[in-house]
Amino acid sequence: MSRLDIQGLHKFYGSMEALKGIDLTVPEGEFCVFVGPSGCGKSTLLRTIAGLEEVTRGTIAIDGEVVNHQRPRDRNIAMVFQNYALYPYLSVFENIAFGLRARKAPEAEVKRRVGEAAEMLGITALLGRQPRQLSGGQRQRVAIGRAVVRDARLFLFDEPLSNLDAQLRDGMRAEIKRLHHEIGKTTIYVTHDQIEAMTLADRIVLLRDGRIEQQGPPLELFEQPKTQFVAGFLGSPQMNFLPVTLEGGAIRLADGQTLPAPPAATGASGPMTLGIRPEHLSRSTGEAGPTTGRLDALIDLVQPTGTRTYTQFRIGDVEVTAELPAHTVERPGARLPLSVDMARTTLFTADGRALGAR
């Protein structure tokens, strides 16, 4: 179990700056997820931690010891790769044992540890096979086995589930979480899938264009996004963003309707963006109150998913999605009064920062 400290980390590829000053601390035993859109630098950050990329500026320390100039093998880190990185010419057993043999572990220990890892992952029956005789999910287990078999200080995962089909992915996700509970090792996990990030993480580090946009526990990022980017990245269906004008404690929408301003908006005014999550819109049952807004919606699309129904309507020229209980709306064309829980909405200034964010 180890702690990771990164300070002022910059990484250049030639003149391209991939990481633009990363400060991050991952405490012992934490499950930390790097998430962000493609090309934001997640893999680059992970690979500099592993020692596969050189650091241009800044420090990476494991347990207080700066490892910038250590070779990957000296950092004692285990890593699971996106394409599994299994050696096709070695059996499953030898694949898992690879890291132990590289470190010259005695044969008896290799046997014991590989056995234990295989047991933990339920792949004991596969140990004698060749990697090409395995399914995608089984290969992924072997790849994870290769990591857990070693007594590494950090576990790194780079999009380990992205090659699996959706159903398998859900199963493996749960398994990785269970594994982390069992082993308790400090883990860093890269994904561009926000659901994976939300479900797995103790701490989400949301990257954007080489910088940390926001980091914290999943629900904190979800409920108190510091920027419009964070708010839009997390949550599915996506948060609705409406252009509004804030004046005198009221919010005026593009089509003239008004909503009461949330408490965070006190003292602010001018053009803003109002963020409303689809699940915070509901069928209105009464009049507007000080914290409940009322919207009149002309429904133009209804998408039932079973338990919930995604309902779309327009305000000005923005398409808005509401997530309503099934049977609330039957068909497009209906007029529907909606209420908005203003305390759970967020206002963003023109530069994308949330009002009231600390």
Partner: protein
């Protein structure tokens, strides 16, 4: 299983055709082989003796008794050692070029362009060099020369194979605790094994068949087998029996090498990475 009559007919036609092609290609080899086992009378008999009465080994025995057969071992030694050298050096160079872009993008193009010079063009300077260095008529001389000749080809071929090795495999090994050199030996070499064998076969065959340099740079100490065969084409007469027997001796090693490594010669059988 009973065949449909038409299919049966088509099948026999195909078989006949295949047989004809086979005879066309195999007959010269058969003829060469059979001469090696014939008596002088049978060789010159007219009409020709298609199948000799009894197989006799006199032609081969003579080659071994007079020491001519040693040239096959010379060839074996020179081609074998130079192949090992070229493969070792070339594969390391290829790895360096493929992974570290050693020498920039055009370096490997320049290397392979060296291989395109007609050998005859450089025979004379090489001869002078060898005279100066005292390498004429030595194993070392020919081994060095063939190694140098084959290096560009090996580098070029192996560079392609190395580039096909997924980088992830090497990175996983680095993280798992190997150093660069160990990664090369334990990951890269097994991954390019097929390419290694295929390239080695061509390298070996080149050295085995090389004639011009062997002719000019050797006297009588380290004569190679192709050079030896030419000694049997006399001004007055040709020693057909010796030519045939020697050719057989020279073909057998190649035959064994190719048969043994045949499955690697099909480039399609590359191990490839395990992907999802």
């Amino acid at each position: 299983m009973r065949l449909h009559p038409e299919r049966g007919l088509g099948l026999s036609l195909r078989l006949v055709l295949a047989l004809a092609v086979l005879v066309f290609f195999l007959f010269p080899i058969y003829w060469l082989a059979i001469i090696a086992f014939k008596t002088p009378e049978e060789i010159f008999a007219y009409p020709p003796v298609w199948v000799p009465e009894n197989i006799q080994f006199a032609n081969f025995l003579v080659l071994f008794k007079d020491g001519d057969a040693e040239t096959v071992f010379n060839s074996l030694f020179i081609a074998g050692v130079s192949t090992v050298f070229a493969m070792l050096l070339g594969t390391m160079c290829a790895y360096s070029i493929a992974r570290y872009r050693t020498g920039g993008n055009l370096f490997s193009d320049w290397i392979i362009s060296n291989r395109m010079i007609p050998p005859i063009v450089i025979v004379f300077p090489v001869f002078l060099l060898f005279v100066t260095l005292g390498l004429v008529d030595t194993y070392t001389g020919l081994i060095l020369l063939y190694t140098a000749f084959n290096l560009p080809y090996v580098i070029w071929m192996m560079k392609g194979y190395v580039q096909d090795v997924p980088l992830e495999l090497e990175e996983a090994a680095l993280v798992d605790g190997l150093n660069r050199w160990q990664v090369f030996v334990k990951v890269v070499l097994p991954m390019v094994r097929g390419g290694l064998f295929a390239t080695a076969v061509f390298t070996f065959v080149f050295a085995w068949n090389e004639f011009i340099f062997a002719l000019i740079l050797t006297r009588n100490e380290v004569t190679t087998f192709p050079v030896q065969v030419t000694h049997y084409f006399g001004g007055q007469s040709n020693f057909w029996a010796k030519i045939a027997a020697m050719s057989m001796l020279g073909t057998v090693p190649i035959f064994i090498v190719v048969a043994f490594l045949q499955r690697y010669l099909v480039r399609g059988i590359s191990l490839g990475a395990v992907k999802g």
